[in-house]
């Protein structure tokens, strides 16, 4: 999957570029649905957190960044990894726990890493990676490059102390980091309205004197546009910025989730805002894409994902001598 080579203002996105955004969202959706299938076939173990429904956030935001802007994210990380251009087959191989996986089979679903793609990892301690993002940004600032660190987390993270510590430090030290909260209203199975005194996350960020805004996370073009602007602000040396993307996950927290805590009607209502369906409709109405072209992309992605599964299936498991490898880096 290719990413956008250039990042024009949203109004200047060509038809092809918009189709690319659609294609990326479709790939994530298909990949995730296939991963769920592989989980039920017991090819994938552990926890599997799927990104279905939130594709516009990853694709819109990451397409608006430079390829060498570092990304640190949470454990629902497949969508971000694919949007950054990690190879689907190596991501699938990681889920399968294979040697060829992006993290050599050591990390699994929650810990995808690809340093060549500046994808600095998925982290599974809620809010634990926000301080790391500050540090990577500090390094970039001191090294004098103009990279923007994208740090993605969920609404569950905003009641952790590290959220507040990180925002404060980033603001005081004017660190080039773009914080992005995916607010899907549920921290695992707990409704944000039951556990947060202020449910508008961006308002909590504003307390740390950094620009913060709520945006539509179901709309890929809005995500692209807002991220581009926020990243420009950060890149220009103004310090951190904050976006709260309102979105919804269509599936449970993980594959183990029976979803007792939310009503089916709520999910169904959000499904009407499906970022892929709505964007397809928009592009169809504007004459950018027709059914034939859409179906061709679907077929192409189907094959892509099938190949990813084949690759993962055929790849070797990590040999036992890998058990003790990489606990420490050897002194060079």
């Amino acid at each position: 999957m290719t990413q956008l080579v250039e990042r024009p203002p949203v109004e200047d996105l060509s038809g092809d570029q918009q189709i690319q955004l659609l294609r990326q969202m479709m790939l994530i959706r298909r990949f995730e649905t296939k991963a769920a299938e592989m989980y039920t076939k017991q090819k994938i173990a552990g926890f599997l957190h799927l990104y279905n429904g939130e594709e516009a956030v990853a694709v819109g935001a990451i397409s608006a960044l430079n390829g060498d802007d570092p990304i640190l994210t949470h454990y629902r990380d497949h969508g971000h990894a694919l949007a950054r251009g990690l190879e689907p087959k190596r991501v699938m191989a990681e889920l399968f726990g294979k040697k060829t996986g992006v993290s050599a089979g050591k990390g699994g679903s929650m810990h995808l890493f690809d340093i060549d793609k500046h994808f600095l990892g998925g982290y599974a301690i809620v809010a634990g990676h926000l301080p790391l993002a500050c540090g990577v940004a500090l390094a970039n600032k001191r090294l004098g490059n103009d990279k923007v660190v994208l740090c993605i987390f969920g609404d569950g993270a905003v009641n952790e102390g590290e959220f507040h510590e990180a925002l404060n430090l980033a603001s005081v030290w004017k660190l080039p980091v773009l914080f992005m909260c995916e607010n899907n209203f549920y921290g695992m199975g707990t409704d944000i309205r039951h556990v947060s005194a202020v449910i508008e996350v961006y308002k909590r960020a504003e307390a740390y004197a950094l620009p913060a805004k709520q945006v539509d996370g179901m709309n890929v073009l809005e995500m692209y546009d807002e991220t581009l602007q926020a990243a420009d602000f950060v890149r220009s040396g103004n310090g951190p910025s904050f976006l709260e993307a309102i979105c919804f996950r269509f599936r449970g927290h993980s594959m183990a989730d029976p979803e007792f805590y939310r009503r089916k009607e709520e999910t169904e209502r959000w499904r009407e805002l499906d970022p892929i369906l709505t964007f397809r409709k928009k592009l169809t109405n504007e004459g950018v894409i027709d059914d034939t072209a859409f179906e061709m992309i679907e077929e192409e992605i189907e094959q892509n994902v099938r190949e990813a599964v084949e690759f993962a299936e055929e790849s070797p498991a990590p040999p036992l001598e890998d058990l003790y490898a990489a606990v420490y880096k050897e002194n060079s």
Partner: protein, 323 residues
Amino acid sequence: MAEVAYREALRMTLREELEADEKVVLMGEDIGAYGGSYSVTKGLLEEFGPDRVMDTPISESVVVGCGIGAAMGGLRPMVELMTINFSLLAFDQIVNNAAKISYMSGGQLNVPMVIRMASGAGSQLSSQHSHSLEGWYAHIPGLKVAVPYTPRDARGLLKTAFKEPNPVIFIEHTALYGRKGEVPDNEYSIPFGEAEIIREGADVTLIGYSGSVYQALGAADILEGNGRSAEVLNLRTLRPLDVEAIIGSVRKTHRAVVVEDDWKFGGFAGEISAIIMEQAFDELDGPVQRVCGADVPMPYAKQLEQAALPSPQQIAETALGLF
């Protein structure tokens, strides 16, 4: 060779590292304008400026996490935490991030950073400033743990810590900061995993690290007065641990007493004891003994605090019980 205090020996290395490598940055609470709560970083802000010597908010977790991220991003950070007791606020960052990022990224990333902190009791600072939790860090694969006793150790081990591509937990002892000792004038380093026989002996091995080496040396004097020759081992690092030195000494003396300020139950002294049992059981003339801190939160009152810490007398008595 000059006589310098432990804190000055540390500062010498910090200054050398700041001078040698632009990528070295120091971060911590009150390390700049205040000069460091134990004066280790005194003068470095004035010398190197606020971009290199950074005062942080009182937010241990983000400070350590920021150090980890900075290391991932290409800097050479050193984070100072006022005491090991406060490091618990950053325990998640140290254990779940610093120690694991190399492994869970399949070796793509590493975390070359030093986290310094002060440990130990003796200053009547009561329960939340006085504990010795070195063993907790030594328990974690992915970390290295240095515990200098002499000023020479302090400078040489810190030098090695700055060369490490892995996270180093560097634990100093509050009671040692002012103690002076001979330190070579030229730059040198002390490798990790090499214990020092700080006093040679033939009848019993006293094993300690950091402040407990001082108590063990005191005990060795008492034992000498009782006609027993004690060998004292200064471990210098807990991870890696110089198992060979421990076993080698026990083969010679056939008796061992492990000394530690930390709580006895579930502590690092138990680990050393188990290693000796596993690897030198037949060499032993008696069970490995442990003299550790009392199993209580540290009390404030002087007399109680002293009673909660291993004393030379207690160590010597324990050793004599082996004959």
